[in-house]
């Protein structure tokens, strides 16, 4: 066998046509609702501190700016627009995450991100359902808390289980020495990925809500009925596929600063490079981010669901190996 260069696209023409229709449909959806389409930089001066997101470094050299990062999400730039009084906005963005390649991942992908001023997460979930179910023609989603999902599908209580029992449980996938360096959230991710997620949204889409506060990222945190701190964060799953991630956004700059610093401490402990914090973003929070909810939705995955494609390359003209 020889390594001939592959020049052909990996997606069929039919799927590429479906992609174009999806873009038109999304733009129509937001135009009708008076949400403004925006474009923000794909190439930014800062990356993200999030321990599980690896950016791709760039080598900009212009106007005194050097270095830079391909953006993992348009979030910070869009929140700066919101702080500047943009009102409700959406963006169809290309985003980049290093190391991510599999049947559902490509290091470059299309993200639909939107922010609705004045909406809480419950109202935002209704809008997500309108958009997704309108396009796919599927049933409206059920709602399940993160805790309920793990209790019913994995048989563990993610809030109450002891670290010891959680490590024991995870030994069905990993050796004790592999588990040694893992935190509680990493273990819960393992349970989510291998036990819970494959069963989510079968037959009917499902929103997972109330993530543990430790997985809040940029969402605000409250206490649930049993006093456990939970995040106003939700995700939508259809046919075992994680489709979007939404927050009732954190607007408190002090709390945001603290989370960035905590991220970097975790990065340091894990032997990952610490990331410079985006001070422009924090300055925008200082100036005042309006009360809002935001969602990031994977458009390539949405197209996989629409077309029935099993692998992401079936809906991409050129996945990274062919790019």
């Amino acid at each position: 066998m020889t390594d001939q260069p592959v020049w052909q696209p990996s997606a069929s023409r039919e799927h590429l046509k479906s992609r174009a229709q999806q873009l038109a449909w999304v733009r129509g959806f937001f135009a009708e609702r008076g949400v403004l389409e925006v474009e923000t930089p794909v190439l930014g001066r800062h990356g993200v501190t999030d321990i599980n997101l690896d950016g791709i470094a760039a080598a900009v050299n212009a106007a005194g700016v050097s270095g830079g990062w391909l953006q993992t999400s348009p979030e910070y730039h869009m929140k700066r627009l919101l702080a500047a009084g943009s009102g409700c906005i959406y963006q169809i963005a290309r985003v980049f995450r290093n190391g991510e390649r599999g049947s559902r991942h490509n290091p470059e992908f299309s993200l639909l991100e939107w922010y609705r001023v004045g909406l809480d997460d419950t109202a935002m979930m209704a809008e997500v359902a309108d958009l997704v179910c309108g396009w796919l023609g599927c049933d409206r989603p059920d709602v399940l808390t993160y805790r309920e999902a793990q209790q019913t599908l994995a048989g563990i209580d993610p809030m109450a289980i002891t670290d010891h029992d959680l490590y024991q449980y995870c030994q069905q996938w990993l050796e004790p020495e592999q588990l040694a360096g893992m935190g509680r959230d990493d273990c819960l991710d393992l349970v989510m990925s291998f036990k819970v997620e494959p069963l989510l949204g079968r037959g009917r889409p499902v929103f997972i809500t109330r993530y543990p506060a430790s997985q809040a990222a940029l969402a605000r945190v409250v206490s649930d009925d049993d006093g456990y701190p939970v995040a106003h964060r939700f995700e939508l799953y259809i046919d075992g596929l994680e489709l979007c991630n939404g927050y009732w956004e954190l607007t408190d700059p002090v709390e945001q600063r603290a989370r960035f610093e905590q991220d970097n401490r975790r990065r340091k402990a894990a032997g990952k490079p610490e990331m410079a914090v985006d001070q422009s973003f924090l300055a925008a929070l200082d100036a005042g981010l309006p009360e809002c909810s935001g969602v990031a939705l994977g458009l390539d995955r949405l197209l996989m669901l629409k077309t029935g494609a099993e692998r992401i390359e079936d809906v991409l003209a050129f996945p990274v190996e062919r790019a």
């Binding site: 599980n52 991510e100 049947s103 559902r104 997985q215 995700e235």
Partner: protein, 191 residues
């Protein structure tokens, strides 16, 4: 020795796992948007042929196994070892034991070319080509004219392999056989 990190995992990679050489069959990347990434990997242990399923955290690595596939011509057997020679003109010879030769022994014909998998420089397995051409040394007398009907009979080939053949096949004919299924394909015109 080189090693491969999870970012380099792909099917076909040869790695050491629990001290045994393995070939990666499947690599599934799993990651929640905001969470820890894992690779779920299926590997075949080249020593035992058993398939293992293992999970790795993103960033973990596996040592590369010194495993190489080489084209070699089969020379002869001394009863204990089967001797092969590289086809690259180096005339370098390798001796494979019964474990390495395994079931392939029934397809070994002198001067034919086989894939010999070397592990740390020694033959680990011997794989026959998908099709081999072998002479029939024993079978019941052919039934003239019966070329279209089903019905088959066993025939013993020069290597000792026994395959089911159509009734019209006679001793001395050369047959093309699929080594993967052990099935008769067709007669080969004698030159």
């Amino acid at each position: 020795m080189a090693s491969y990190s999870t970012n380099e995992f792909r099917s076909g990679l040869k790695v050491l796992l629990d001290g045994d050489p393995c070939i990666m069959l499947e690599n599934e990347f799993v990651k929640p948007g905001k969470g820890q990434a894992f690779n779920r990997v299926k590997l075949r242990n080249l020593m035992t042929n058993r398939v293992w399923e293992r999970t790795f955290k993103s960033g973990e690595s596996l040592e590369a196994a010194d495993v190489m596939d080489q084209d070699m011509e089969y020379l002869y057997t001394d009863g204990e070892f089967w001797h092969f020679m590289l086809t690259d003109g180096s005339f370098e010879q390798y001796a494979a034991d019964a474990k390495a030769v395994g079931d392939t022994v029934k397809w070994l014909k002198e001067q034919d070319v086989y894939t010999v998998t070397l592990y740390n420089g020694a033959p680990l397995t011997v794989t026959p080509p998908n099709f081999v051409e072998l002479e029939v040394v024993d079978t019941d007398p052919g039934m003239k004219g019966d070329t279209a009907q089903g019905g088959s009979k066993p025939a013993t080939l020069s290597t000792g392999a026994v395959v089911n053949v159509p009734l019209f096949i006679t001793i001395g004919e050369v047959l093309k056989v699929d080594t993967r299924s052990g099935e008769y394909v067709n007669r080969v015109k004698s030159s």
